[in-house]
Every structure is written in C-alpha cells, then in structure tokens.
C-alpha cells in the first residue's frame, strides 16, 4: 500500500470514528433532554429557596475550567507536547473530582431540604445523579488516557483515544450547562 493510500485509510477511519462518537453523543443528548423536560413537566418553573446558589455557581465554573484543561490536553498531544498533555489531563481529572465533591456536598444539603420522596427532590437527584454518573465515566476514560499517555502510547499522528475521551468530557460539560440553570436558576 502506498503512503498516500495508507494516509487515506487512516483519515477515513478517523472520520468514521468521529461520526460514530457524534451519533453516540446525540443519543445521549436525547436521554438528558428527556430528564430535563421532566423537570418542567413535573414542576413547571417552580424552584425551592433552599438551593445553595453559591455552590451551584462554583461547581459550574469548575466544570467549565476542566473543559479548558481537557482542550489544552488534546491540543498538546496533537502537537506532540507530551508533558503539557499529561499535565492538563491530570488537571482535568482533578477538577472533575472536585466537581463530584461539590455535587456530594450539595446532595448532603439536598437530603435535608428536599429528599428524593418530594417532587423537586426526585427531579434534582435524577438529573444530578445521571450527570454525576457521566462525570464518573468520563473520569475513568481520562485516567485510562493519562496512564497510556505516560507510557508514550500516543503521538501527534495517533491520538484518537485522547480526542474521543476529551470530546466525551466536553459533552458532559454541555449537559451541565443546561442542567445548572434548569435546577438552580429557573423560577417563577
């Protein structure tokens, strides 16, 4: 196989992988859309007063910051900058864990003010629980990527595992961008 043909096959395979991942993300979006719409179906635009607004804003900013570090990790690996790639992947993992700690604190408070038996509690725990599960699975992927990155498994020409994991992480961020106002901000 000529060099040009090999490059063509590699590009076609990469395009298919990207398309497959975007279709997966689309299917996940439907799931989140169903959960988000249930909030408006069950509660309308009612919102209890006891939500910790400061914590909600802080964990949102933490997740947005983690998207920047994930983006920097992908850009770095694409340019063969291994050190910066590893550093930013690790930072993303750290920020993701910090986000989960924030959600945990919010859950402790939420159990006191609106337990899952109440209507808002059902919506709150369903949405944040579904999202936290996605954050957790994203973290597993990123740890996998970091470990393989340390062993030098990725190069500027071959880094699909990094790109796929980082795209998934950004999707988790997009989902939260909609969940945050739906739970914390929408009101009468």
């Amino acid at each position: 196989m000529s060099t040009h043909s090999a490059a063509r096959v590699h590009y076609d395979r990469l395009s298919l992988r990207r398309l497959g991942l975007w279709l997966f993300i689309l299917s996940e979006s439907f799931l989140f859309f169903a959960f988000l719409s249930s909030r408006y179906y069950v509660l309308g635009i009612y919102r209890p007063e006891h939500l910790n607004q400061a914590l909600g804003l802080i964990i949102t900013c933490i997740l947005l910051l983690s998207s920047l570090t994930a983006y920097r990790a992908e850009v770095s690996v694409a340019h063969g900058d291994r050190e910066r790639f590893l550093r930013n992947t690790l930072a993303t993992i750290g920020l993701g864990l910090l986000f989960l700690v924030g959600v945990g604190i919010e859950w402790v408070e939420a159990f006191a003010y609106f337990p899952p038996q109440q209507r808002f509690g059902t919506v709150f725990f369903s949405l944040t629980g579904l999202h936290a599960f996605h954050v957790l699975s994203g973290l597993v992927l990123l740890v996998f990527v970091w470990l393989h990155g340390r062993r030098g498994r990725f190069s500027a020409a071959h880094y699909w595992a990094v790109e796929g994991s980082v795209k998934y992480w950004h999707f988790v961020d997009v989902a939260w961008v909609f969940i945050y106002p739906t739970l914390y901000l929408v009101s009468l």
């Binding site: 900013c61 850009v75 340019h79 063969g80 900058d81 961020d173 909609f178 106002p181 901000l185």
Partner: protein, 72 residues
Amino acid sequence: MERSGEQERKLRLGLRVLIALVVLTVVEYLLLVWRVPNLLVYLVVINLVDAWLIAEYFMHFSQLWRTEEEHR
C-alpha cells in the same frame, strides 16, 4: 517553531472561549439576582450560545464536514 506558534494560538483561543463561558454563566446568575422578567427565555438563549461555543471550539464540530485536504 511554526507548529509551536500554532499550538500557542490554539491554547489562547481556548482561554478566550473559557472566559466567554464563565462570563455568560455569571450573567445567568445575575439575571436571577436582578429578577429579570422572562428569565427562562434569556437562559435558553445563553445556554444555546454556551453549547455552540463548546461544540464548535472545544469539540471541533465542524470537523465532521471537512475534507481530507482541509484537515491537513
């Protein structure tokens, strides 16, 4: 050297996108504090802008339509 310059340009772009996202999030919060009428409409618009910024700049959504030559 040229590659490094391109990398730095992309990293700066990422920082600008993050700043825009944080500003929009703070604006969302301030709309609540200021009790702006029709809050839901403003929130939906801001969320769609947020989602577009992340999908386009961080997730490279338009990559899907690029040809092999454009990708190089």
